[in-house]
Every structure is written in C-alpha cells, then in structure tokens.
C-alpha cells in the first residue's frame, strides 16, 4: 500500500489520530525544550523543595526544588532520542539479518539458532549485562537495547521474507536474470515495509520502558542526566510526601508508550487486513 493512502486512512480513525497528536506534542516539547521549559531543569532551590503543582511550578518541584515540568520536557529529549535511536538501529540490523536468513536457505538455520539463543535471555537482564560490560552512558544504553531488540525484528522480517520469496513475481524477476542484491533491495524489501513499520513503533515504545527501567535500576543512563527513568529513580523515596515527583514522569512514559502502541496497531490494521483479527 502506498504511504499517502495509508496516511489518509489513518486520519479517519480518531483514536489513532489522537495518539499521533500526543506524540507530536511531546516531540515538539522535546525539540524546543529550552523554549518551552519554564526554568532550568538543573536549577536547585532548596527552599522550594517538594512543592506541589502551582502556577509557578506547573507540575511541582522535586526533592532539590527543581521544576518538575522543565525536567520532564528536557527529559523527553533524552528518553525519546534513546528510544528513537534504538528503534532505528534494531530495525536496520534486524531487517538485514531477517532478509538474509529468509532468502538464503543455507544461512537460515544457523542465523535463527543465534536469534533463538539471544531471545532466551529476558530483555531487561540482557540489557543490564550489556550495559555493565559497555559501561553506563547514553550511547551504550542505545547499543545494548539495539542488541536486545534486533533478534525480535529479525524473526518478524524473516517470517515475512519466507512468504514474499515464494510469490510469483519474485520468480519472474529471477527468471529475468536480475541480480540477487537487486531482488532483495528493490523487490522483496518494499513488500516488507508494513511489518517493519509496525516493529518501529512497538520497539520505540518498548525502548522507552526499557531505558526507564535500566535508569531506575541505576545501571542505565548516569543519574545526573534527566530522563523520565532517572527522575523516578532519584525521587522515589519522596513518593509518600510528594506524589507528583513519581506520578508525572510516570505519566509521561505511559502516554508516550501507549500512543506509540496505538499508532503501531492502527498501521498494522490498515496495512494488513488479514491480521486485523489477531489484533
């Protein structure tokens, strides 16, 4: 299906449009964080610590008197960047692996056994181990999460490649003597766009949750960088006195992840009517 038609159809579904709108607002706030934030996210004011939401501090202040709203807006930059890079990286790597495994029968079994092995580790545990090895930094969190999600994408892309490979037009272009690399790139890949697009939005959502989890455990992004995960981790012990320090960063995570999943689900429904019933 062509992309413009897809966009037109998506616009007809209110809940999908609403999710897209939420994502656009969050993305704009993140991109323009210095302008939209009402204060410096790292400005401490001990006298104003743990103040509830007010006109001056829209979402209250944390245990060091930092403005929660400004920190969430700035945190969005880091959380979204990490998740976007993770989605991009794992989808590219997973697509290449899946295409190769699905198209070349000889490589299929060995590659998929490695994928099986990678997927026998719980996501978060593998991510923790990888960050422990690579060292805690923004880039290494991305690298670790890419390694965790690549096998998942590879599995999906392989399954679709196996189907597309058997279609008549592939046989036709092969009979015409088209080079294998060109068949993969020009004829098979475009037919895999819908499952790949769906994976992008789901992995984006998973990565937001995973980054938050890693940072919460103290094995992800260094605590001085404000992400939605480090914010909850740093303030959780004050949750009983000031619920907003935990509530608002959590809601930011939930809204973003939920919108991404609704969007991915909407795309899947429209691109593949057969899959509609399997949710």
């Amino acid at each position: 299906m062509r992309l413009p038609r897809l966009l037109r159809q998506l616009m007809h579904r209110r809940i999908v449009m609403l999710s897209a709108l939420v994502l656009i607002v969050i993305a704009v706030l993140a991109l323009g964080a210095p302008w939209f934030a009402s204060a410096d996210p790292n400005d401490t004011a001990v006298l104003d610590r743990l103040k509830g939401p007010s006109a001056e501090h829209l979402l209250g202040t944390d245990e060091l008197g930092r403005d929660m709203y400004s920190r969430i807006v700035h945190g969005a930059r880091y959380s979204l960047t990490i998740a976007a890079l993770t989605a991009l990286g794992s989808v590219i790597a997973g697509t290449v692996l899946g295409l190769v495994a699905g198209f070349f029968r000889r490589l299929d079994a060995p590659l998929m056994r490695v994928v099986d092995a990678m997927m026998s580790f719980p996501d978060i545990l593998l991510a923790i181990a990888l960050v422990a090895i690579l060292g805690p930094s923004l880039l290494n969190v991305v690298l670790a999460l890419v390694l965790v999600y690549t096998p998942r994408v590879a599995r999906v892309v392989r399954a679709s490649t196996l189907v597309v490979r058997e279609l008549l037009f592939v046989e036709a272009v092969r009979a015409l003597g088209v080079r294998t690399s060109r068949i993969l790139w020009r004829h098979i890949l475009p037919n895999l766009l819908s499952p790949i697009l769906v994976q992008v939005s789901f992995i984006f959502a998973y990565a937001i949750l995973a980054e938050a989890g890693l940072s919460f455990l103290g094995v992800g992004v260094p605590p001085e960088i404000p992400t939605w995960g480090t914010m909850v981790a740093g303030s959780q012990q004050y949750a009983d006195k000031a619920f907003w320090v935990v509530l608002f960063p959590g809601l930011a995570i939930i809204f973003t992840a939920l919108s991404l999943q609704i969007l991915g689900d909407g795309v899947r429904d429209l691109l593949d009517p057969k899959l509609k019933k399997t949710l």
Binding site: A117, S120, A129, Q236, Q261
Partner: protein, 319 residues
C-alpha cells in the same frame, strides 16, 4: 518398515536444536563476561602481583591457552554444575543462585496465575464480542498494561496498599526464617504488579487464539448441532485455543525468572534479578555469568518441555 517413526525423528531434531541453542547461549555468556572482566588474572591477584605470579596463575588456570580452549575448560566445569566462585559473596555462584531461587520462583508462579485469571476471561470475552465496545475496552486496557513501567506501578501500589492502607509490608521478604505464609504475604503486592501488567499479553494472545479457533469448521458444526453458545465457546473452542495460551503462560514464567529484576528491586525482594543487579554494581562477573547462563537455560528447557507436552497431549500425533 525400518527406521525411526516420524515422532522420534521429530524428537531427535528438537533435542539437537535445543542443544545447539544452549551451546550458543554458553558462547554468548562466555564472550560477554570475558569482554567485560578483561583479564581475569588481574581480577584474581589485584594490582600488586609480580610478573612471575601472573605467569604461574595463568598456567594454573589454563589462561595461557587460546580462548576456544579456555571456553572448553569453562564449559566442562559448567556441565559438572560448577559456575565458579562469587568474588564478593565468598561462596559458589550456584549456592548464591539457589539461595535466591525461592522468592523469584514463587513470584513468577503467583504473577502468572494472576495474569491468567485476568487475561484468559477478558481475552475470551474480547474474541466473542469482537469489534463491540467490550472488545475495544479490553484491547485498550491491554495496550495500557503494556505501557506502564513496572517500577512506577510498583511504587503506586506500595503507596496505596502498603503505606496508606498498611495491608502489606512496604518491602522485603519477611524476617529471616519467617513462616511461608508471611513470605507469601510479602509477595502479594509484587505479584499483583507483574500479574496485572502481564495480563495485557495474555488478553492479546487469548483473543487472537480464540478468534482463530472460532472460525474453524468444528465450531460451526457444534453450533449447527444446536449446542448453547456457552458450551460452544467454553468446551469446543476454548479447549483448542488453550494450546498457544499455555505456551505463552509457560514462557512468561520462564522470562520472569531473571526478568523480574525491576519489580524485585522496587519491593526489595532477595531474588535472582536483585542478585544480578547487585552483582553488576559490584562488578562481580562470575555471578553475572552464572545467572545469565542459568536463566537462559531455564527458558530454553521450559520452551522444550512445552513442545514435548504437545507431542504427548495432541491426539493427532501418534507415537
């Protein structure tokens, strides 16, 4: 006719496949932890070691051999059940894992039970009333469940049920040597967190699986015989739809052993996930290595057992 029957051939190929995956898991774990800890000799001896000491220890532990040979030595120990010594805890890794096994296993079982109790009925209702408001509600709830970070949900539940209402302990696993009832009581809140969040997955799977089955011929036959709808759905359809659902439940248990790290940390449970996090913070590589290996092996073995179960249960497969 000679030669093994198809089922035995199938079993043989499944066992071979499982062993290959286990071997790759072992290679991954070995390479990862070797890359991390760097030179194991300097870890053992510290900075004060002389060149002679280093050479002697390298020879003693086989570290002067090429890496594949070292992997062989390590694997031989692992197969015999020796996962090495924890640097920090001063005891064998297997013992450290065993001490942490109870809360993790109980937590996983309780959480999956909760997820099944919520997820299976909701999934059935969703499938039966497909496209109606109930379906949309449950589908939405399932997506919401998959969007809530477990640590956040944990903190919220602790505030509500432990701090404000005082029904459950805020954290921990009861006093040392506490009776099992006290330990189970301490596990209820974390199990609720994991169970509710994972029910999202079970709702999706049950719905998809039921929709597949509801389109089958035998369901139409059952309906045309004039059976009441409840009997068609619960007896004829659900029984057949349960196969993939049981798979997911089994794999969820497997993934929670080691994958419940965040929840164990929020609730201060002395489980395997918690052990790994502290090992990472202390750079205790033998523990990380052993835990990764055991957790992945459990997943592979549970996955394999579920496959075997099908061979045993499915009447279409004859031995």
């Amino acid at each position: 006719m000679s030669g093994p029957t198809p089922v035995y051939r199938y079993l043989a190929s499944r066992i071979a496949g499982m062993l290959v995956v286990l071997a790759i898991v072992a290679v991954i774990v070995f390479v990862l932890t070797r890359a991390a800890s760097g030179d194991p000799v300097s870890v053992l001896l510290g900075d004060q070691a002389t060149a002679d000491d280093i050479a002697r220890v390298k020879k003693d532990y086989g570290l002067d051999k090429p890496l594949p040979v070292q992997f062989g030595y390590w694997l031989r120990e692992v197969v015999q059940g020796n996962l090495g010594q924890s640097i920090f805890l001063q005891r064998p890794v297997t013992q450290a894992l065993w001490e942490r096994a109870e809360p993790t296993t109980l937590l996983a079982l309780m959480a999956v039970a909760i997820a099944a109790v919520i997820g299976i009925p909701c999934g059935i209702v969703s499938a039966v009333f497909r496209g109606r408001w109930v379906d949309q509600l449950f589908t939405g709830v399932a997506m919401l469940g998959a969007s809530i970070p477990s640590f956040w949900f944990g903190i919220v539940l602790i505030q509500l049920f432990a701090v404000s209402l005082g029904w459950f302990p805020v954290s921990g696993y009861g006093a040392p040597g506490a009776p099992i009832t006290e330990r189970l009581h301490a596990l209820m809140l974390p199990a609720a967190v994991l169970g509710v969040l994972n029910s999202a997955l079970i709702i999706r799977f049950t719905r998809a699986s039921m929709l597949d089955v509801l389109g089958e011929d035998y369901v139409r036959t059952a309906r045309s015989k004039g059976l009441p709808e409840s009997s068609v759905v619960l007896k004829h359809a659900l029984r057949n739809a349960l196969v993939p659902i049981v798979t997911v439940l089994g794999l969820t248990v497997a993934l929670m052993i080691g994958g419940a790290v965040v929840t164990e940390t929020v609730f201060g449970l002395p489980g395997i996930g918690n052990l790994v996090v502290s090992a990472v913070l202390r750079r205790d590589y033998p523990v990380i290595q052993g835990a990764l290996l055991v957790v992945a092996a459990i997943y592979v073995l549970i996955n394999f057992s579920i496959d075997l179960l099908y061979v045993a249960v499915d009447p279409r497969v004859k031995l």
